[in-house]
């Protein structure tokens, strides 16, 4: 079995070769962004070069200039907020739980969604170095933190060709619910 695919930012067309379910390790730079940071960037413009960039759905704990804990947040909250970033050249969105149909179409032939294990903030921070920050006035969770990565282990959740491992699990769950649910509540 081959090891995880090595990726480094700025990302390019190599992301197009990835398939949902592939294990990858990402190095380089990620920019954290949650709801509030997306709203601010839509309004004021993107404060970093978005070409080939990776966005991490994460509100870290930062202390004394260090990343203490930085696991992923629920990406679905940003389902309708990613279009402008992908249009400007962002190549990877990173988070947990997968994303909706809008994003799946927006990723097509240009970018991927990478999943990191929710709650694994201590493991994540052991692969990270703090490089800078934008929008600190939004508060620690919502600011855009610039973080250096050394081989963060991720899974390709959604690829650039419509592949989506979360959807496969969702379809299974819906089928199981129809077949087994004792008595649905109305």
């Amino acid at each position: 079995m081959t090891g995880p695919v090595q990726l480094k930012t700025p990302l390019g067309d190599e992301v197009l070769a990835l398939k949902a379910g592939d294990r990858v390790e990402l190095s380089g730079i990620v920019y954290t962004a949650r709801d509030e940071a997306h709203f601010r960037m839509q309004k004021d413009g993107i404060p970093f070069d978005p070409k080939g960039a990776a966005i991490y759905h994460c509100g870290p704990v930062i202390h004394n200039g260090k990343v203490v804990a930085a696991g992923p947040t629920t990406s679905a909250r940003m389902n309708e907020l990613e279009g402008f970033l992908l249009d400007r050249g962002v190549r990877a969105l990173i988070g947990k739980g997968g994303m909706g149909k809008t994003v799946k179409e927006q990723l097509r032939d240009r970018a991927v969604y990478l999943a990191f294990t929710g709650g694994c903030a201590a493991l994540a921070s052991s692969h990270m170095t703090l490089k800078g920050v934008y929008y600190e006035d939004l508060g620690m969770p919502e600011a855009v933190w610039v973080i250096g990565l050394d081989r963060l282990p991720l899974v390709v959740g959604m690829d650039a060709h419509g592949g989506d491992i979360f959807e496969a699990a969702r379809v299974h769950a819906e089928k199981a619910f129809r077949e087994h649910a004792v008595q649905e509540c109305r």
Partner: protein, 278 residues
């Protein structure tokens, strides 16, 4: 100024709250750990097994470095047991808030608490009505901190079922996870409150998360098995185990009501209890 008995209670409770918060966010209780380890061994889906490897590694790194398991260090939910000799007043609430502020600064915790409408962050994890403090009488003076993360909390639901529809409870719980999918960081623990009132059901659902999770009643096991038929798996990537345990608390209710609340808890079922030493 003379140090009063009240001052010493205040200092001891603030310190105990700080210690309980730190313990809760860094390490998991033994029953929670054993249930996660068993699931990691039993899981057959390869992607899911990779997620468990990360979870177990993360638990190890957090303990080694003494840092929080998860960056969402939660919103503070606190349970106090108060023996007869401890006077019940506002000062207990102040002391808990002081312990939370200290934990925020020293552990450190992520400042998560904001105004609900302006979204202004207080930066110290306290605010109007928060920490949420639940008080009950007891033999020993203890503080329990349950830091509740938002991913799982946001998937929680309540229903006012028809009084004759107890058979619908299981379906409601399973449907809650069907809707939640990977969002609450499964594998989850599900706290279920059945009966009481609208608010009591929700409160019991949360308290049920404090019960030992390495045993289940037949009823709890049956609901757990039904949830696991969904196959959502860790983080929604698919797998055999979606719920690690289901815990139920019940209370008497109005003859015309059947409230049911489901409080969803991620795999990191964090809570710690510290005895307040005076």
């Amino acid at each position: 100024m003379k140090r009063t008995a009240d001052d010493s209670i205040h200092a001891a409770l603030a310190d105990a709250t700080f210690r309980a918060y730190r313990e809760a966010v860094i390490g998991l209780p033994p029953d929670v750990l054993s249930v996660i380890r068993k699931a990691a061994e039993a899981e057959t889906n390869p992607a899911a097994r990779g997620e468990y490897a990360n979870i177990l590694k993360n638990i190890e790194v957090a303990a080694d470095l003494g840092v929080p398991l998860c960056q969402d260090t939660g919103i503070p939910v606190v349970y106090l047991t108060i023996p007869p000799e401890v006077p019940f007043s506002d000062r207990l609430y102040d002391a808990v808030a002081e312990g939370v502020r200290r934990a925020t600064h020293e552990v450190p915790l992520r400042p998560n608490v904001v105004d609900p409408l302006t979204r202004h962050n207080t930066n110290d994890n306290t605010g109007a009505g928060i920490p949420a403090i639940h008080v009950r009488p007891g033999k020993e003076f203890t503080v329990t901190v349950l830091p509740k993360g938002a991913g799982a909390e946001n998937s929680s639901r309540i229903a006012m079922l028809l009084p004759g529809h107890a058979y619908g409870i299981e379906g409601f719980v399973v449907e809650t996870m069907l809707q939640a999918q990977g969002k609450p960081c499964p594998p989850v623990f599900l706290g279920i409150g059945i009966g009481g009132t609208f608010d009591l059901a929700a409160s019991m659902a949360k308290e049920a998360l404090l019960l030992p999770v390495d045993t289940m009643t037949g009823y709890e096991q049956k609901i757990c098995d039904s949830v696991n038929k969904l196959g959502i798996g860790p983080m929604g990537l698919g797998g055999d185990i979606t719920a690690l345990a289901v815990k139920v608390k019940t209370a008497a209710c109005h003859t015309a009501s059947l409230p049911v609340a489901v409080n969803v808890q991620c795999w990191a079922n964090r809570h710690a209890t510290v005895v307040v030493k005076r």
